[in-house]
Structures are given as C-alpha cells and as structure tokens.
C-alpha cells in the first residue's frame, strides 16, 4: 500500500523537483526559461522549506550564488534553459577547476525542435568543454532517479554535475515512483582555501592538472554505476543516448544489442570493447553527434551509422516513428511498426498570439504609427510575438534589443531605432546595454514593456514585482531612477492603454537625440485575471460601425468580423479600451458585463 501511495502521475520537472527534496538540497537558484522553469516553481511553493531558494536576475548571477553556497559545504542546484547556460558559461568554465565542497548540480534543459527557444544547442557540449560529468535521462523516472543521486556524484569527484533533461523529459508526464524527502541538517561554513578558490595563474595551473586527472576516473565510474550499459543481444547494435533510449526501446528487435548512454564522459575503453563486439552499430541521439564521434574514434572494423552519414538528422526532435525510419534504413528492422504518415489538413494557422488586453499590442501599434521608417530590435519574452504585428525586426538573445539597437543606430545614423524589452529581460542583461548606449552616445528609443512579472515562462516574480520567489516582500526597483542613474535624461512612464498619451510620448521621443527611455506600465492581463481585476467589456455599436476594419487590423483576438462586415467584440474582451481609441467612427464603447 505504501508503494501504491508513492506512485504519482507527475510532470518531468515536478519529478525532478521531488528528487531535489529527496537528495536534501540546501540551496536553489535559477532564472526561468522554458522548459526548465517548473523545477524552481515547484520547489518555491513547498511550505516551510528547509532550504534557501531564489529566482536570480540572470543565469550567471544564479550560478555564482549557488557555487558560493557549495563552497560553504551546502548542496546546491542552479536551473536554467540551455541558452541560459551561455550566460553562465563564464563561471561554469572555471568551476570545474575550483571544484566544489558541497554537491553542485547545474540543470540546463535542452530544447530539441526549439519549441520555445531561439536555437537547438546541446548542453552535453558544455559538459565536455568544462570537463564535468553530464547526466542525460531517458525518461521521467530516470530523470528523478538520476537527480536524486547527482549530489553524491558531484561530491565524490568534487565536480559540478550538469543535469540535462530535454523538453520531452521536462514537459512529459509519467507514473513515477518517488522516495522520501530528506530535510538537510547541513550548516554552511566557508573555510578559507585560496589555492582552491582564487584562480590566479599560479593556482589555476595545478587545478587544471587535477581536473584532467579526474576525467578517466569519472568515465569509469559512470559505467560502474550503471549510467552507461550494454545489453549484448547480437552482432548489430544500437547505441542511444538520453530520451532516444526510450524511443529505441519501443521498437528494437530482440536480436539487436542495445547500448544505453545516460552519462558523460563516456569511458573510451569500455566503448571500444562494446563497439568491437559488433559488425555494425547505429547511433541514435538528438542534436550533436557526441556519442557518434566517440564511437567513430574507437571503431576499427565496425561500421558506424548515425548523423554523420545521413541516417539521422542533426536538427529537431526525435520520436519512435523517426527512429524506426533510421532502423529501416540500416536494415535493423524489416517492417516499419508505424503506419505511413497520413496527409495533414490545411487549416488556418493558429499560432500563439498576444493576449486580448496585453499592453504589448498597444505599444507595438503606437510604435508602428509614430516610427513608420523605424527599425525595431526586440528581445526574448511574450513580446517577441509582436513579430506578427511587424514590430519585431531582430531577436537573438536575452538583453540584445538595446545593444543590437545601439549598433544599428551607429551604423545607420539616419534611421530611427526603437528597441523593445520586457522588465525581467531588462533586469537580466538589458541594463548593461543601456549603460553602454548612454556612454557611447547611441541615438535610440528604448521602450521597457513593464508588466511587473516574467510572463512567458509562467509568471515568475522579479526585482520589479515587489516580492521574492518565496513570497517575501522586497523593495520594488525603480526603472525610472535606474534609467536616470545610467545618464538618460528623457525618461517617461506611460499607461499603454492610454493610446493618445502613448502616441504623444513616442512623438516627443522621436524629436530628441540620444537615448530615450519610455516605460510602458500595465500588469500582465493573465495576472490581472488571477488577481480578480475586472474591467467592463467594450462593445461595437453596429449602427455606427463603418466596416473600415481598423479595429480588426489591430489584431486583438477579442475582435471578429460579422457576416455583414461589421466588427464585434467577443467574451475574450478584457476591457483595455484601446480599440475604442483606434475606431475612427467612435463606434466602440464601454458597455459589456465585467469580465
């Protein structure tokens, strides 16, 4: 019965969070990023936790906070998405030299197919680069089991451990067997040891040698611990890594060997032995050919298939059906277990869109009106969806709207540049760009889309919210004063629902040289809904509607066209009233029931 009670239907990230509790973590930090966010979100909602937890302002900050805790002997985790690891790469690359005292787990969630990301980078490469162990689970249960044991691994070798789930682990659900929570009795204590923690050249050279020496020991241990294992069943083999193991397990014939890779570095001697036992091997892994390159290095007479000879793609997400095709090509399967893919219907696309009443929509609308000849660098967040309104010209990574905008302004002095960035992203890495823009006399308008929350990733609080991750009140940062302190003289706050004022402010900014900062303030409409904020719906007076379509072009999902060509608002209306300002006939007015 006890066994029965422990099995739960859980999201991968929730199972991972539970594993953290079972391992007795002391310190949690991170920056939200899909698909990683629910790990901290789950941990921060635990009542009366024994551990410290924070949402940090960015991944580098989160990483360094966590390693500070580890150096005091505590068990820490820092979470982020794969591109967040780029931000934290600086401390990462040296943390392997310094090592850790308390266990340190870096969770970097990869996103094959870029469901919610700007690229498809493979965090396993970072583990190799930094020379630290990497755990790559095949399913939700293994993700839970691996993370629970990850701090022991970290402490055993005094190395940070990179834990790398993918979207299909983080956002898959499964029946999961859980263990008991294990509250930590540890107390932090920093013991001075400059040779370990001060990486001047004289210290770092021997530390590098120690790191090199650890590598074969780690690789050997990962086989002994069962993370990498070989099930020899014939003369041909599939070697699969991470979630691909699950896809292969579903369809692999019984006479083909299955080599499961769940951790890195791979022991080259072990791999050479395993490969040599087969005449032909097929490597199945998402993203980079990490296992494949290792296998090709060890193979002497064995034929190796994988990405490098076109059996499997370098890009995108795998599935059992995709893996079946590769097995067919290799002749490992004689009959495809999946039906031929039927044709897809042509149905009008329904992409994600800005919510009805979202402040971003009115800002983009006004911006396009005033800066007809402008260039619009933007950033990472809900507002990237402004692309559909033609108001997003560039997006590359967090914080780059301001910096790319500065570059464009110096390159094209005649072109007006308007950068848009959310409050959380501004505080993440945008503020450095603002300082730089002012310092170097860029000529650009910067609009901070201030909805007081990190919305896209699931509404995490940030320094602009006035509350910490665990709900403790904290001073709300003043974006206005921050901008002024950077040296900006044109700093204006506007209500984006007041279209007239918004347009006037943008026009004023356009007239002035230098860096102008406009802060558009309205809470996220999803948060408003959760907080019980209600506004009356707006309605269209059909008799006064001139069927010009101006409101429809605004693109709000709460506006539709009737059969007679007049516009109508739907129950989705949240009462922002911007469409009433847009309507040239004055046909839209407040009047519906409160929503």
């Amino acid at each position: 019965m006890a066994e029965e009670r422990k099995k739960q239907y859980l999201l991968g990230n929730d199972a991972i969070a539970h594993g953290c509790l079972e391992a007795g973590i002391d310190f949690v930090s991170g920056y939200p990023g899909t698909p990683s966010s629910e790990v901290v979100d789950t941990l921060r909602r635990v009542k009366d936790p024994w551990y410290y937890l924070e949402w940090s302002v960015n991944e580098k900050v989160a990483f360094e906070n966590a390693i500070g805790a580890c150096w005091c002997g505590l068990r820490a985790i820092v979470t982020m998405k794969h591109v967040g690891l780029n931000v934290a790469a600086d401390p990462l690359m040296t943390s392997s030299y310094t090592g850790v005292k308390g266990g340190f787990v870096i969770l970097s969630a990869d996103d094959p197919f870029a469901h919610s990301s700007q690229n498809e980078q493979d965090s396993r490469m970072y583990a190799k680069f930094a020379q630290i162990p990497c755990l790559d689970p095949k399913d939700v249960q293994q993700a839970h089991d691996m993370i629970t044991a990850a701090w022991d691994l970290s402490e055993k070798f005094s190395l940070p451990v990179l834990f790398r789930p993918t979207t299909r682990i983080c956002h898959s659900k499964s029946d999961v067997a859980l263990g008991e929570e294990s509250p930590s009795p540890r107390k932090g204590e920093f013991v001075r040891d400059p040779k370990q923690y001060v990486v001047i050249p004289a210290h770092t050279r021997p530390l590098h040698a120690i790191l090199t020496k650890k590598q074969p020991e780690v690789a050997k241990y990962l086989v002994e611990a069962g993370y990498n294992s070989a099930e020899i069943r014939g003369t041909r083999a599939v070697i699969a890594g991470g979630i691909s193991v699950s896809y292969v397990e579903e369809i692999l014939p019984e006479d083909i060997s299955l080599i499961r890779i769940g951790a890195y570095p791979i022991d080259q001697n072990w791999l050479a032995d395993v490969v040599a036992k087969h005449t032909e091997v097929l490597i199945v892994e998402e993203l980079m050919p990490v296992i494949e390159e290792a296998a090709r290095q060890t193979a002497t007479t064995t034929t190796v298939h994988g990405k490098l000879d076109g059996y499997l793609p370098h890009e995108g997400e795998f599935s059992s059906a995709l893996v079946a095709k590769a097995l067919m090509k290799a002749g490992f399967l004689t009959e495809n277990p999946f039906p031929t893919e039927p044709a897809q219907e042509v149905v009008a696309v329904r992409p994600p869109i800005l919510c009805p009443g979202c402040l971003h929509r009115s800002v983009f609308y006004a911006m396009k009106k005033v800066f007809r000849d402008g260039v619009f660098p933007s950033d990472i967040g809900c507002y990237t969806l402004g692309l559909q309104m033609g108001a997003v010209d560039t997006t590359i990574c967090m914080g780059a709207s301001i910096t790319v905008g500065s570059g464009i302004s110096h390159a094209c002095p005649e072109t007006p540049v308007v950068s848009t960035i959310g409050d959380s992203t501004f505080l993440h890495t945008g503020v450095n760009g603002l300082i730089n823009a002012v310092y170097n006399n860029a000529n650009q308008t910067i609009i901070i889309l201030d909805n007081r929350i990190t919305a896209m990733t699931g509404h995490q609080p940030n320094p602009n919210t006035g509350v910490t991750a665990t709900g403790v009140p904290s001073p709300k940062i003043s974006l206005e004063e921050l901008a002024r302190a950077c040296g900006v003289s044109f700093v204006e706050s506007v209500d984006p629902y007041d279209l007239t004022d918004l347009l006037e402010t943008l026009k004023a900014a356009k007239e002035k040289p230098g860096v102008k900062v406009i802060i558009a303030k309205q809470p996220c409409v999803i948060m408003n809904k959760r907080n019980g904020v209600k506004r009356s719906r707006y309605v269209v007076d059909a008799d006064r509607c001139v069927k010009c379509g101006a409101c429809i072009r605004y693109g709000c999902p709460a506006l539709e066209i009737c059969e007679d060509g007049t516009s109508v608002t739907t129950a989705l209306c949240t009462g922002c009233g911007v469409c009433a300002d847009i309507c040239p006939a004055g046909a839209i007015h407040r009047g519906g029931a409160k929503q």
Partner: protein, 194 residues
C-alpha cells in the same frame, strides 16, 4: 508491437486540455497502470493550437506517432481537423461542436470556415465521429468551463479505464469548490450517445 492505448487531446491554449489529460493520467495511476503524457508549455500556450498526448499503458516515449492514435478528443472542430492525421484509420474522435475562428483568418482576409463544412469534412473519413455540444451541456451542469470534463464523460465509453477511476481522477483534478459541478458534467457527458 503496440500495447498502449493512445489518446490525443487537442484544443486552444487556455481551454483546459492539460487538466483533461491529468484526469486520464491519474486514472491510470489509480489503476496501477503505466502511462506517458506529453504537453505544450511556454510560448505555444498563448491562445495557440495545443496538443496533449496520453499513452495509457505506455512505457516508452510520450509522443504518439501520426496515424496511430486510438482516440482524438478535440475542444474545437477546427483543431479536430488540424490533428486528425494522428488518428488511426478506424479511430474514434470525440469533438466539441465549437469553433473559435483563428485571428489569422481575419488578418489574412481568408474565407471564414463554416461549421457544417468542417463537420462534413470530419465525417468524410473512416473514423467514427462523435460530435457533442459539450460547452452547452457543461453550462447546464453549472459552468461552460467544464466542457473538458463533459468530453471526458463522452469519451469514457471508449477509454480502457473504469468509470470509477475516471470519476475519482476528475474529483482529484478539478478545483475543490467545483467538484459537484464537474461530477455532474462527467455524468451528463456519459449520457451522450452519438
């Protein structure tokens, strides 16, 4: 080879597809069965088309291969059409007779799809199509938001899960104060026959 019963639940972000899939997942755990599920989070959620995969008795990956789902539960007729290629040829679809016209239709000035045309297109294949006025039934049960539970009630005749496990899973997943309403919605869904 195939041992799992695969259900694809589709709709529009915010309609409650994830809650519906949680009910199926919990029902599996109640019965001590394996289950795998995959869902859409993050950027795609904002009013976009969403799909949730549930593999009852699933032990491997969470993704259902196109052409192999046993059951399609759709919260919107257009989404049923968009995803019906996931269904096996003789599969069953339980579809809410609702249509939210994508904003892209208005912005690109495309012809607005008509309910009758979409329904007859759905019926043109070999799949069994069960059309349900789930939102209307849910409103009668107490709230149109319970349309997802009505659809599960309808689908319960197809699912390899007992009615009592499903009902218990409904109770576990809906907000505390809406339990009675959702129980009613589930029961009313069960009464629907195509």
């Amino acid at each position: 080879m195939k041992k799992s019963y695969d259900v694809l639940i589709v709709g529009i972000g915010g309609q409650g597809t994830i809650l519906a899939s949680n009910v199926l997942g919990d029902a599996c755990v109640i019965e001590g069965r394996h289950v795998r599920g995959a869902e859409t989070h993050g950027m795609s959620q904002r009013g976009g088309s969403v799909e949730t995969h549930i593999r009852i008795d699933g032990k491997f990956g969470s993704l259902i291969a196109p052409g192999s789902a046993d059951l399609l539960i759709a919260f919107d007729v257009l989404e049923a059409l968009r995803y019906r290629h996931f269904l096996k040829e003789d599969g069953v679809m339980v579809v809410n007779r609702e249509m939210v016209v994508p904003t892209s239709v208005f912005s690109a000035k495309l012809p607005v799809p008509q309910m009758d045309d979409v329904v007859s297109e759905l019926r043109s294949g070999k799949a069994t199509v069960i059309l349900v006025d789930a939102t209307e039934i849910a409103a009668k049960a107490g709230s149109p938001l319970a349309a997802n539970i009505v659809l599960l009630g309808v689908a319960s005749h197809q699912l390899p899960l007992s009615v009592s496990s499903l009902a218990e899973a409904v109770r576990r997943n809906v907000p505390q104060k809406t339990v009675a309403l959702n129980e009613q919605a589930f029961a009313m869904g069960r009464e629907v026959r195509s």
